[in-house]
Symmetry: C2
Subunit: 341 residues, 2 copies
């Protein structure tokens, strides 16, 4: 059996195609595209067709999870969920179902209960984390957000059942390895023994500091740059300088590296603080890290807290980890097709 899993995020659309034989996962193929849904939602159908390619006729079913309904092209989440479902349903001739907070739902049920499928992608990812450790906290650091999901007895048991609730339970931290405006991470930065307040414009993003620090390379910088300029080290440094209303004539490369390292540490602390909250409440002391920022941020946060951790990339390839929600969705869809969920 061949099953596709699709994760339609606000900024990226990810795909996994898995092959299952006799209940065993035999093969995984993954791919993804940068698709900013707030300006290009009309391209979703084409993007999905492109991602699936020839295999669109070979899959036995398609599982879908989404977070794109939050983008400000939609009046509210319900409108967003319905729009995404509408676009997806036009494409496939095989069964399609949607990840919800309580298993897979077909389009009819999903359209009737849109809030159950809104932003449920972490449910799919937690399936994979639970396979690695049946009692743990999954820390999935994506391009934009971080999911911190408690897992007990092999099943996710997040206290928050919506993004809004998870923002209050420590289970969602809106910071990520690429797209976070640096001005949302720090109010001020130290430099040569003095503190500087920062500009609140969207001048530089987390991808810029992680590029400068060597945490990612330019191929990982898959989102747009805030100023529309390039993705070289020098471009990123210029953007970081602008955070202090400065430029590369006013600040040296060494200054900028010092600033970037400080912001990286503060971003780590933001995530660590939320992990601690979940860990203490749920009495869980092991972390499974995943997502694009699993080493850059999740691992650092675990180390800061002195907690033991396993990386999902010990079990999956790095690229597979980045699209873990899509793989989890495909697995849930496979179970659904065979009557499991």
């Amino acid at each position: 059996m061949k099953v596709a899993g699709i994760d339609i995020g606000g900024a990226n659309t990810d795909m996994a195609i898995i092959e299952i034989e006799d209940g065993e996962l035999k093969n995984i193929k993954v791919d993804f595209r940068y698709l900013p849904m707030w300006i290009r939602k009309n391209e979703l159908k084409e993007t999905l067709k492109e991602l699936l390619g020839d295999e669109i006729d070979e899959v036995d079913g398609v599982g879908v999870t989404m977070t794109a309904e939050l983008v400000d092209a939609y009046k509210d989440k319900e409108e967003g969920v319905r729009d995404v479902i509408g676009r997806v349903e036009e494409i496939f001739e095989v069964p399609v179902a949607y990840v919800s907070l309580s298993g897979m739902m077909d389009s009819e049920e999903a359209l009737a209960k849109p809030m159950e499928v809104a932003a449920a992608n972490w449910v799919a990812t937690s399936q994979l984390a639970a396979a690695i450790s049946s009692d743990c906290i999954m820390v999935d650091v994506g391009s934009t957000t971080t999911d911190i999901i408690p897992i007990k007895d092999g099943a996710e048991c997040a206290k928050g059942r919506s993004d809004l609730e998870r923002l209050s339970t420590g289970e969602l931290v809106y910071t990520g390895v690429l797209r976070s405006n640096l001005a949302t991470i720090v109010d001020r930065v130290p430099l040569n023994g003095k503190w500087y307040r920062v500009s609140s414009e969207l001048f530089a993003i987390s991808a810029d500091i992680h590029l400068v620090l060597g945490n990612i390379d330019y191929k990982d910088y898959t989102c747009n740059t805030p100023d529309g300029a390039g993705k070289t080290m020098r471009d990123s440094m210029r953007r970081i300088a602008r955070l202090l209303c400065a430029d590369l004539k006013l600040l040296s490369q060494r200054d900028i590296t010092e600033i970037a390292a400080y912001i990286h540490h503060q971003q780590t602390l933001k995530i660590a603080e939320a992990i601690k909250e979940v860990s203490e409440r749920e009495n869980l002391d092991e972390i499974v890290t995943t997502g694009l920022g699993m080493h850059v941020l999740a691992k650092k946060a675990a180390e800061h807290l002195g907690m033991k951790y396993k990386s999902m990339d010990t079990f999956l390839t790095p690229t597979e980890c980045i699209v873990a929600p899509a793989i989890g969705t495909a697995i849930m869809m496979g179970d659904h097709l065979t009557g499991g969920i």
Copy 2:
């Protein structure tokens, strides 16, 4: 004598035309346009011609101050200053001079020392504040930034001589009454007895909270909305809800007003903290408030600190206060033409 003063900001271009007779200020006329220089710098010439109208042939001189050189359409500030000067010099046939950290400069000198005229608009405004109180702290809350400038013996004595330096001396706080991303003001907000982390996207801006709180009305909301939607109370509420990954089905109007009031208070504290820093260092205990946010934020900050304050709008009309740097620039240009500066 008739003199024009122009303040070319990143987001707004303001103009004042003053008439001086026998050294006395007889008449002030002001106007402004929203001109986002990071995307529409090519329209600067047309905008200036439109602002001056028929009086372009009547003025005896034009003073110019700028902050637009910081926008990310420019590689660095020097390039920005030179570009703005180049555009301005093509328009006028009368003398033009530029506000610098050490008086007015003609274009030749300004092109030779671009960093002296970069972001010197607060020098112009401080001329007006000094006329109100010869020993005070001017707090000028604009759409995007707040200048906190110490004045002694009738002259500004800011310790920072560039935006970068002023970010470290408490003399520049990058927060304002319209354009500030709410995610740069708060990391979390209280609601119904719980704390919620916030999204780090550009979902809602300070204009949204101040509109919802009745601090400004829709006519004051002169910048673009982050989502391209309208400027009604409901539109602003929807944007604020999105800051918590929520919408108007999940949060009530009362919830959103509670959130807005909290963010307003935090924004006030940011400004108050910097005023305190300058006040203690410079031994100054009186505040002169000005700018679009003079009542909404500067006055609140003064009250929070228990400091006495005078509003510039006791001496000028509210609109004149909003374009105070342009008026100050015109006055400096008048002095320059008569050999004063």
